[in-house]
Structure formats: structure tokens, C-alpha cells
Symmetry: C2
Subunit: 373 residues, 2 copies
């Protein structure tokens, strides 16, 4: 679908568009969908199709709800506003983990946190999280927030560790909340094992920006409803109890980004046909090819050491002397890679390796890197 002169996009999000996006958008412009009511049978059918495709792709249990917001950032606000009265606990491994912590602080909640330096993973195995440090962190916390794949640094928490930490949270009566913005759809994080996973569509799903999705457990909704019943504020209009109620009717609370919902239905159906394992397999294979090539190139160093803490979908490379000139040379070859984020700005390359990127794209990128470093 790409014209010969169009650049290849490896930006960490908004990223390259899935081929279904152009086709489905043209269809939506032609068939009147965008001028219909969000209460119309056609839009409701589209919403159901989107939900079913996500359930199939991400293995979402039937009793978990799919809630619709405007962005992953809005998701963070709705989560804290809806489910935390006093205190939330946060594992901090980068800028987006800190963002969720900041949301809690801004909303007047106490926060407790465990921090690793940017670029490092939480050490050890699921067992390590039986240590007394985790118990102290969770003591009195209503929620444990984790970032499975830190988009700012390319640090990963393996799914088995996420599941173990969610179990640990549950033992303490805390909800588990996982940022899966650049983890899903390829990472095997199981929605049945946690209370809330959220993402925005312009990253792992290859869609235009403007939609956020939360996948939430019955316990998550129940917590928000209990708080509301006790007279606590859970939101102005789009709070968790209200979003859960409309989700049960396959409706939305306000007029949503209808085009994005139709596009997500199409892309999630496509990915569900391939299956999450196949998506992850391709992502892993390309990540391995990338790192094998990068170790031979001068001045390039992986930010995250090899192993389970290194992201498969956000490949972060430290560039000796700064990343700006190399990014510019790659861009002149039609290869768009991301800058570092926050503290990594000007120092790192961030290369998206989502399901929407392809083997031939990666080959072109590696050829460009070999010629330009």
C-alpha cells in the first residue's frame, strides 16, 4: 500500500498505519457511517464487533468489560479517580509509570513507590516479589500500578512477573492495574489475571490516535461502585461505574471517536485471525534480528541489557555522541525512527517493532543503519 517514496515509519506512536486503516476509512467516508448516531444499530453492531475481536485477540473473559475513553492518559485519570480513595502503589520503571503516579498525586492521593533506574528492569523472578519490600509497598494500598512495557525506555516486565505481582496485590486487597500501551496486542499478558489493562490505539494496533481502551475485571468495577455508594466521587460523567454500565448495553457514555472504533474492530479482527502468539513470534524474531545486527555497529549500545527485561516492541539504542544526526540521516533515507523520551531525548533511538512493522521494513532499516552509523 506504500508508495515508493513514502517513508517507512518506526516511530513509537503514532506509528505506521495498519493497511486496513486506509481501506476502512475510505469505506466509512463512503457508506454514511460517520453521519450516523452513536445509538444507531449500525454503530452498535460495530461496537460489538470491536469488543468481540478484542476478546478473541487478547483472550478477555466474558465477565471483564471493555471501556472506551479518549486516550491512555485519560484512562490513567479514570482509574485513579474511580478506584482509589487514599493510597496507590506504583512500580516506577520510566516516564509513563511516573505519569500514572503523577495522576494519583494530582488527584490528591497518597502514593508509595518502588523505583528502578531508567533502562533497568525490576530484578529477579516472580518469587522475588514475595520479599518483605513488596508487602510493605502493598500495605494499605488500594491499587498496584505496573507498566508492562515502558514506552519511554524499552524496559519490560515479563507477563509471568506481571501475573505474580497481580496475585500479590490481590492477597493484599489491592487492584492490579497494568499499562499495556506498547505491550498489547503481542505480549501474552492475560486480562483474566489482573484487574485492569489499558492501551491507546496509535501504538501496538497501528491506528490513528484518538482512542483509549480499558479492559477491567468485575472486582475493578465493584470497587468503583462501592466507592460511589459510599458517596465518594468516581467522576463527573465518564467515571468507571458509568462507563461499566453503558458497556453492559454495548453503548458509549458520550459520542465517541466512532471512526477509531470501526478501525479498531477491523484491525483487531485481522490480528485475532493471526493470533496473539503469531504476532508475538514475529515481533520476537524481528527484535532478535535487530539486536544481532546492532551489536556489530559502532557507537550503538542497547539501553536495556539482553534478557526478559528488554522490550520486544520498543527497541531503545543509546547512540554515542547523541542520536540527532543519525536520526536525521536515516530520515533522509526515508526511515523514521523515534527520539529518546524525557531524559533520553537526543541520546537514544527508539525503534517501534509492533505487529504493524514488517520483516522487509526491518531489513531496510538495518541497511540504513549499516550505511549511516
Amino acid at each position: 500500500m506504500t508508495a515508493p517514496s513514502a517513508p517507512l515509519v518506526f516511530l513509537p506512536g503514532p506509528t505506521a498505519l495498519h493497511p486496513r486503516v486506509a481501506l476502512e476509512t475510505r469505506a466509512a467516508l463512503a457508506d454514511g457511517f460517520l453521519s450516523e448516531s452513536h445509538r444507531s444499530p449500525r454503530f452498535r453492531a460495530c461496537l460489538v464487533a470491536m469488543e468481540e475481536a478484542l476478546r478473541s485477540l487478547l483472550e478477555i473473559p466474558q465477565d471483564h468489560r471493555i471501556l472506551i475513553v479518549g486516550s491512555a492518559t485519560e484512562a490513567m485519570e479514570r482509574i485513579i479517580e474511580g478506584t482509589v480513595t487514599r493510597r496507590s502503589a506504583h512500580l516506577l520503571n520510566g516516564a509513563f509509570a511516573r505519569r500514572l503516579r503523577d495522576v494519583a498525586v494530582n488527584l490528591g492521593r497518597e502514593v508509595v513507590e518502588a523505583t528502578v533506574p531508567d533502562g533497568q528492569g525490576f530484578p529477579g523472578s516472580p518469587d522475588r516479589f514475595r520479599d518483605p519490600g513488596v508487602d510493605r509497598l502493598l500495605d494499605g494500598a488500594e491499587l498496584l500500578a505496573m507498566t508492562q512495557n515502558e514506552t519511554s525506555t524499552g524496559v519490560r516486565i515479563p507477563p509471568d512477573l506481571i501475573h505474580a505481582l497481580a496475585d500479590r496485590a490481590r492477597e493484599h486487597g489491592a487492584l492490579s492495574v497494568v499499562d499495556l500501551v506498547t505491550g498489547w496486542p503481542s505480549e501474552a499478558v492475560d486480562p483474566a489475571r489482573m484487574d485492569c489493562g489499558f492501551f491507546s490505539v496509535q501504538k501496538g494496533f497501528g491506528l490513528p490516535a484518538g482512542l483509549g481502551i480499558l479492559v477491567v475485571s468485575p472486582a475493578f468495577v465493584e470497587r468503583a461502585r462501592e466507592r460511589q455508594a459510599r458517596g465518594q466521587v468516581t467522576g463527573g460523567y465518564m467515571g468507571i461505574p458509568a462507563l461499566a454500565q453503558v458497556a453492559d448495553r454495548h453503548e458509549t457514555r458520550a459520542t465517541p471517536n466512532m471512526l477509531a472504533i470501526r478501525l479498531l474492530a477491523a484491525v483487531a479482527e485481522d490480528y485475532a485471525r493471526q493470533g496473539r502468539e503469531a504476532l508475538d513470534g514475529a515481533v520476537r524474531r524481528r527484535a532478535a534480528v535487530f539486536w544481532n545486527a546492532v551489536v556489530d555497529l559502532p557507537g550503538l549500545t542497547p539501553l536495556v541489557e539482553a534478557g526478559p527485561s528488554r522490550s520486544r516492541t520498543i527497541l531503545v539504542v543509546e547512540v554515542a555522541g547523541g542520536s540527532g544526526p543519525l536520526r536525521d540521516r536515516l530520515a533522509r533515507r526515508g526511515l523514521l525512527v523515534g527520539d529518546g523520551y524525557g531524559p533520553g531525548k537526543g541520546r537514544h533511538l527508539r525503534v517501534a517493532n509492533f505487529p504493524v512493522q514488517t520483516d522487509p521494513m526491518l531489513e531496510r532499516l538495518l541497511e540504513g543503519l549499516r550505511n549511516e552509523v
Copy 2:
């Protein structure tokens, strides 16, 4: 641009698409815009273009800011969350005025209200609002909320009355907030005369849904900043102080609906070239033609009596015996008109008469009505 078989859309929103939407969306799919960062020079230029077009079209003073959210409903939440500590005052003339009141209640604020029955306007002239009732309403209120054009009932508050009420609010130290969801761009409500006007793009602007805009005064932002400085919660991440700060840099707080911003720039530029007076002139002329025709048709009665309280852009007709069958017959002729909203469901027709609807469309609708009533 419309195929002969495509229906003509008079739904009150999402409504008919402006012709620029299809062209500009195709361009955005082809030129890589949707895969760029929202921090990229091209997106920032688009944001500046959107702001300048809105400033020109709506005559927004340079010191007023343009803030970006996901929907008009989200705008309501950000307004109350950001600027009201204790009490807000509401003029209630329909379902969307009640929604903003409900947002304040849900966020734990006290509300005081003045109500007219659905379908009736606030009586009298700007002078009437010098009466003691208004003073009582505003006493201790931090904000006066008004709905200029009630999308649920087609009741209008004339701009001079909006301006007078905003002045009255200011005398009491209250901010004036105006729902302009189906008023702008054609209604001559002056942003310089009030503290906040807000709208979503799928109504008067003829765009796909998924974007809300607030136009706010320096006093509005200052109020939110003062509250924040006193330790009051103004939002988790996308609160008014944060949205104002990024607006000053021509940035957005999170990755926004980039396509919608580009589309709004294009349509607002087109409307700014025509000028707000020309848009309103066409809207008024078509409304007059519509009502002149309707008085001759059996079983159809305007919900709102003729005069300044009757909306020009949302034409609401009561149908003797119920509106469902007539709507169905019109739909079979390719004429889509809205159902009543809330209490009016099944009883009213709601006909959108935005700048995006045209004279030939209206002629076709009247021909359909004459044949089907």
C-alpha cells in the same frame, strides 16, 4: 460529492459531513500525517492553523486560549473539576443543560438552578436578568452555566441575553460558561464577552465525532490556577491549568485525535472565508423556509414558539400521534432526520440546520415532508 443514492443527513449530530472531510482525510492517509508524532513540526503547524482559523471564524481574542479535549461531555467535566470549589449556578432549559448540572453534582459540588419547562425559553430581555431572582441564583456561585442552543429541545438563548447574563455573573465574581455545541459556528455569541464556550465537532462543524474544544478567558484559567495553588484538585493530568499551559506552546497534553484537528482546521478555514454572518444568514433563511412550510402541514407543530427562543440550527417539530412512522417514511426516501431526545423521544423530529446542510437539501426534505405527513 454525494452519490445519488446516498441519504441526505439532517441528524442533529453526528450530522452530514462537510465536503472537505473526505478530501482532507484522504490527504492525511496519503501524506503520512497520521504516523507522525504529535510533537512534530507538521502537527504543530496544523494545530496553529486550527487555532488561527477558529480565532478568525469565532472572533476569539488573542488572550483567550483554545483547549483540546475528547468531547463536549469531557469539556463539562474539566470545567467543573477545574474551576468550582463549592457551588455552581445553572440555567436549565433541556437535557444538555441538565447534564452539566449533573456533572457538578457527581463531582460533589452544590448546585443552584433556574429551570424552564423543556421547549420554553428563558422569558424576557437582558433587562429581566437584573431581577432579584438572578442575584439570588448567583449569590455565592463560582460559575454560571448556560446552554445557548439546547440540542435536545431546540430552545435558544439569544446572544445578547447570553452576554448580559455573563456580565451579571462577572458582577457577582462568577465565571460564565456557555454550551455552544449546536450554536457555534453560526451564532454570534462573542467569546470576548464570556469566560468559556465549548463545543464538539460533529454538530455545527460537520466533522466525524471525537473532539471537543473549549475557548476560555484569562480569568477562567486564572481561577483554575488559583485553586491549584491553594492545593485544590483541578484534574489528574488533563486539568485546565495543564491544558492552558500546553495551549500556550501550541502543544497538546496527550496524543490527541490528530485527524480531527486537521479536519477542524480545514473546515474552520472554509467557514472563516465565508464569515460567521454569512453562515448565520443562510441558517436563518433556511429555518424561515422550513417553518413557513411546516405551518401548512397537518399534524406538525413547532415545539418552540416563534421568536428569539426558537433555535435556528436545531428545528424541533412535535408530530401528532408520534414521530417514529414519519421518520421511517422519510428514511425510505433517503432523508434522515433525528428523533426527539430524552422526554421527546418518539414524539419529536429534530432537524439539523447547520452550515453544513444546504438549500437543495432542505428543498428535498420539504418535498419529502409534504408527501409523507
